[in-house]
């Protein structure tokens, strides 16, 4: 039987099944709903067969793990060779408290570090600034000077573990502090491995921790890409992030498309700077959300790799295989967790983490069950980390590469998401590119629409959320909540005051003046920032210089 004969035969049998067994079953008992949809409100068919994947080429579109277009993963042996990095995002209070949490996590079997900074740090304010009322240490650790960074990293094996830092507007400065702290301990910068998030585009789109207007922000990001390419070959200079876009309410396809559009924008800027695409592209990494809808999430990761590989090779002319790879971190979906019956979040996180693993992530954070109530307590974090360890060592899903590859459903979904993302790239290009689309509120409006639709579906009970609009338990949640050191802020302020008192004030002024001069021109600002950091200029002093030169961005308010 030839291939097309086989398809004709299948089509005939499917028709027969529909009019026969299926029809009979439906007449006996209708389905639970008239239509079924994913978490992203995408329609899902009853059954997928080889007919749904007939247009998908098993070699050109699916291929093999570790081979273009990497649909089945970036490494030939997947998790059989090396398990994903278990990297729990942590940070609160003072550098001392966060340093202790990191040591706890490494001791519990975590394999990479991930730093959360407090909101003042994320906005480039020191702990003593009036704008920071009530915010010290709440969502992460406060870092004002090199001294804080040295305390944060004290005793951590920076030459052995990689460190991811979730920092965006002030990313260049925090990175300079990290490099300076490591070099003071005798670890050369070229040996440092890690990631700065440094993804300013998604700040305008979703996370909203922008400071400067988009163009000077992109210049600063491009400075870090150029500097890292030359001086820190093991460092990921941008973690192009869909996570926050999804948390703000985007659908899976919007997350996929907007993130990859951002990634391509960074590539355009670096190429325009004159950096060889094959020199910097291998150090771009990604960060995706792992949400509830299991198969949609798996398909999203697979589609992301394929789109990126094709764009890098075909659109940007990258020659090295490493430039084509989309390597990614993943985090389970914070916004999916419920304050109601918080213990059941453990089950949600396990399913989401499994989707990320089957999607082929390189690194993973699992959320804690108390996410919708407070910052995670130590015991909640431990359960979340253990969830990853169970997936790795007990579930069996890490024993073969891309076990869902070839599923009619997953392959059809992967291809549909790729096409839909390409349609969105076209919309963004029609607006003039990513920056004009931000300025016109394209992303913000689409995300707000999706968030409103999702809430509406829950309130209409078209979508059931266990514990929220179904299986409700009136008993109030009883989980222990993290208690922070109430004295931390005072100790942080004391350290900051001491640094300001003891440093060479003239040297600080000279470094800040040089930074101002550099910012006005077109010099790469990284070396100037390193000098200022070593002179113990504070985060805010450096950011204020840049605010003065670059200005501060006001976003269009979009409801």
């Amino acid at each position: 039987m030839t291939e097309s004969n086989a398809m004709a035969h299948l089509r005939a049998r499917q028709s027969a099944w529909e009019t026969g067994a299926l029809h009979e079953a439906l007449s006996r008992m209708p389905e639970r709903a008239e239509t079924f949809m994913t978490t992203s409100s995408e329609p899902i068919e009853r059954l997928y067969t080889p007919l749904d994947v007939a247009g998908i080429d098993p070699v050109d579109d699916i291929g093999f793990p570790g081979e273009y277009p990497y649909t089945r993963g970036v490494h030939p042996t997947g998790p059989r060779g090396k398990l994903w990095t278990m990297r729990m995002f942590a940070g609160f209070g003072t550098a001392e408290e966060t340093n202790a949490r990191f040591k706890f996590l490494l001791n519990e079997g975590q394999t990479g570090l991930s730093v959360a900074f407090d909101l003042p740090t994320l906005y480039g304010y020191d702990t003593d600034a009036p704008e920071t009322l009530g915010e010290f240490g709440k969502c992460g650790v406060a870092i004002c000077t090199l001294d804080d960074m040295e305390v944060l990293l004290n005793g951590l094996p920076l030459d052995k573990v990689t460190t991811s830092m979730t920092i965006n507007s002030p990313a260049a400065i925090i990175w300079a502090m990290y490099i300076a702290a490591a070099e003071k301990r005798g670890i050369p910068r070229a040996a440092l491995g890690g990631t700065i998030q440094n993804d300013i585009l998604k700040e305008y789109i979703a996370q909203k921790e922008f400071i400067f207007p988009p163009r000077p922000s992109m210049r600063l990001v491009t400075d870090t890409v150029e500097f890292g390419t030359r001086d820190l070959p093991l460092w990921n200079t941008i973690s192009i992030s869909g996570y926050h876009i999804r948390e703000a309410g985007a659908t899976a396809v919007q997350e996929l498309a907007f993130t990859l559009a951002d990634g391509m924008e960074y590539v355009r800027w670096a190429i325009a700077r004159g950096v060889d695409v094959d020199a910097f592209a291998p150090r771009l990494s990604f960060f995706f959300n792992a949400h509830n809808d299991f198969f949609e999430e798996v398909a999203k990761f697979r589609a992301a790799r394929r789109i990126w590989a094709r764009a890098m090779r075909e659109r940007f002319g990258a020659k090295r295989e490493r430039s084509w790879l989309l390597r990614t971190h993943a985090q389970t979906a914070g916004a999916s967790l419920t304050a109601q019956q918080p213990e059941i979040n453990v089950a949600r996180v396990a399913l989401q983490a499994m989707a990320a693993v089957l999607g082929g992530t390189q690194s993973l954070h699992t959320n804690s069950l108390d996410e919708a109530l407070a910052l995670p307590s130590q015991s909640a974090v431990q359960i979340a980390l253990r969830t990853q360890q169970i997936i790795a060592h007990e579930s069996g899903v890490a024993n073969t590469v891309d076990p869902l590859g070839g599923s009619y459903f997953v392959e059809a979904l992967t291809t549909r998401m790729e096409r839909e993302a390409e349609r969105m790239f076209g919309e963004i290009e029609a607006l003039g590119g990513v920056l004009p689309a931000i300025e016109q509120g394209y992303f913000q409006r689409h995300i707000a629409d999706s968030a409103a639709r999702y809430q509406h579906e829950i309130e209409q009970r078209q979508r059931l959320v266990v514990g929220v609009n179904a299986y409700v338990d009136a008993a109030p949640p009883r989980v222990p909540i993290l208690k922070m050191d109430r004295d931390g802020e005072r100790r942080q302020l004391e350290r900051l005051a001491r640094v300001k008192r003891e440093r060479d004030a003239e040297a600080v002024s000279a470094r800040l003046a040089a930074l101002r001069e550099g910012a006005r021109g077109s010099a790469n600002l990284m070396p100037l920032l390193l000098e200022a950091v070593l002179a113990r200029a504070t985060l805010q002093e450096m950011m204020d210089v840049l605010r003065g030169v670059f200005g501060v961005y006001q976003e269009p308010v979009i409801l």
Binding site: A248, A448, A452, I481, V557
Partner: protein, 135 residues
Amino acid sequence: MTQQPKIRVLIAKPGLDGHDRGAKVVARALRDSGMEVIYTGLRQTPEMIVEAALQEDVDAIGLSILSNAHMALFPRVVELLGAEGRRDILLFAGGIFPDEDVPEIKKLGFRGVFGPGSDTREIADFIRAEIAARG
């Protein structure tokens, strides 16, 4: 018969956090339920919020915050409203609040505290009932 004037609501984001999903979803839902909604945008100081509330002559203020800085920022808003003699404006809050803070927030004068998973129709009903009770 004269039409009832629309209830005017200010939705504001105090503090530094950029999580505006909840604020926007609630603002849209209140607008769809027939209220006049003003959304301040991000990073508003208590001073800016109170000024906007007075300028827009609102009946209610909803404060949305996820950074856990509420116990520093909420009292300041209440204090500034008091200084303006406008403690009559209905206050409600949305976001992530530890259980033990909820009675404290209510004691400050916030009539409604809405956590994750709240139904937007309940928020709208709450506002209508509170405004009606104030006559």
